[in-house]
Amino acid sequence: MLTFFLIYPSLHTFYLSFFGPGSKKFVGVSNYIFAFTNRVMLTAFRNNALWVLVFTTLTVFLGLILAVILDRVRYETVVKSIIFMPMAISFVGAGVIWKFVYAYRPPNAPQIGILNGFLSLLHASPVGWLIERPWINNLCLIGVGVWIWTGFCMVILSAAYKGIPPQLLEAARVDGASEWKVFWKVTFPIMMPTVAVLTTTMIIFVLKIFDIVYVMTNGNFSTEVIANRMYKEMFHFRNFGRASTIAVILLLFIVPMMLINIRRFKKEEFLR
């Protein structure tokens, strides 16, 4: 089963990536040259880099902050449920939900998207959140991803935080360390391995990001990402050679992360 669905196709895709649209004509590396020179492809690479950078930093960072500060209030579970909830919503659902948040209408018309509604309250002119290229719209899309995945990071980091022996933190406090210092000198180093694992997980995930972009802008207004590009090559242009090439490139980006995963697994195996 695994061989059929994952191993065989990966090899076959690699093979196809050297062929033309109909997979009959051998074209050498020209698909790869296309992938690294075409303007839309380069936009997609840039956007994916932006996703990796901003998305990963924000989800892990916010997750960490939330894990630590929520531990101090009594209504922890309620807030955690709220922040974790988007995990149960599909990307399609989240896409529609946020399209509505970002909804834009010309100035003077009543604004129905909450962000522009807020702006009009301040008598500022409305912003086309999903159209303003290249920074605003890409960051808005990333914001949706962050909304969905922060809860995941929070849950994992919070478990790690609660695993820290309380005596350790108490001892630091008794010695007169400020909360800030306790966090950076005690909490953070102990949680470092978890943060590292989580970061690689998020990077692997975000490299493959597809649904959010597909539903919200379909890559228009320079919001293209690699996975959406591949879908288009495959179904709109029926160019299997190029689509395969993009898939191979995607895989190549992920391989280093995969090696880290395997190394970690071997270490665990050693420990048990």
């Binding site: 599909s90 529609v96 995941f152 879908y231």
Partner: protein, 281 residues
């Protein structure tokens, strides 16, 4: 004094919680408002008088379910999701047990392969599988997508169950085999009953993943409405009803009902599953 110094903390937390809940709240409120209201005023205006129920209507839901094809799609989603959840979990339970407690040549190597497969992007596998499916007549059929989800779901489900089953005490297995239990007996009488919670959490995972999936369904089912699951249907409504928010929001809400109720009902297992998968030291 202590309470006062904690005020900023509470304010920050409550603000974050509001930011997180507002988008969903907007969709919920909008889905119950008549079309002309939705177009004329922001949904938050309804919150000024939240309990004046005459401003709400159910027509959006009616029209989405009938003309929007969401009723049919909901059914399709169920037909896809249930076998595509049960099948991989059954295989994974056996496989995880084998990986954890049976000695066979290549076990370590196979398992490392499995961990590597966890991160292979679906995208790399689509074209060849689609071709095979086309040749076998599986493309655009329910059995086809059941198989696809099973294949894609196995690495993670095996891995999660392995973490749990591998942590069972080995004395248990020793004493069982001394008492003369066969491997199968050990599996059904010991391993399965002991790992009910783990299996529950993995089942929730797989269920949510299949229910919320868009890409796999788009590729292997195509866009035909008679097999399209709810995610595909909603995303095609986004294309055709772009600005009719009352329709879209109602559709989205129907698609969220099942996953959300599972989430709130079984949150404990869900969290446990996530932790089993990613936290190990």
């Amino acid at each position: 004094m202590r309470i006062l110094s904690r005020v900023p903390l509470h304010v920050v937390i409550i603000l974050i919680a509001l930011v997180w809940i507002f988008p969903t709240l907007g969709v919920l409120v909008t889905s119950f408002r008549p079309a002309q209201d939705v177009a004329a005023t922001g949904w938050w205006t309804a919150l000024r008088i939240p309990f004046q129920f005459t401003q709400y209507t159910l027509t959006n839901y009616g029209s989405v379910i009938n003309q929007g094809g969401i009723g049919r799609a909901f059914l399709n989603s169920l037909i896809i999701t249930i076998p595509a959840t049960i099948l991989p979990i059954m295989i994974a339970a056996f496989a995880a047990y084998a990986f954890a407690w049976m000695r066979f040549p290549g076990r370590r190597f196979l398992f490392i392969m499995l961990v590597a497969l966890l991160v292979i992007p679906l995208q790399t596998t689509m074209i060849p599988i689609l071709r095979v499916f086309n040749r076998l007549g599986l493309a655009g059929t329910f059995p086809g997508i059941w198989l696809a989800h099973t294949g894609y779901g196995l690495p993670l489900t095996i891995y999660l169950l392995y973490n749990f089953i591998g942590a069972l005490p080995s004395e248990l297995f020793d004493s069982a085999s001394i008492d003369g239990a066969s491997t199968l007996q050990i599996f059904f009488r010991l391993v399965l009953p002991l790992s009910v919670t783990a299996i529950a959490s993995v089942t929730i995972f797989q269920f949510l993943w299949v229910w919320n999936d868009l890409l796999v369904a788009l590729i292997y089912l195509g866009g035909t409405p008679d097999v399209a699951p709810i995610t595909v249907q909603v995303s095609s409504l986004v294309g055709s009803y772009g600005q009719n928010w009352e329709v879209l929001t109602a559709a989205v809400f129907i698609s969220m009902i099942l996953p959300l109720s599972i989430f709130f009902g079984l949150q404990r297992y869900f969290v446990r599953g996530i932790l089993a998968g990613s936290i190990k030291g």
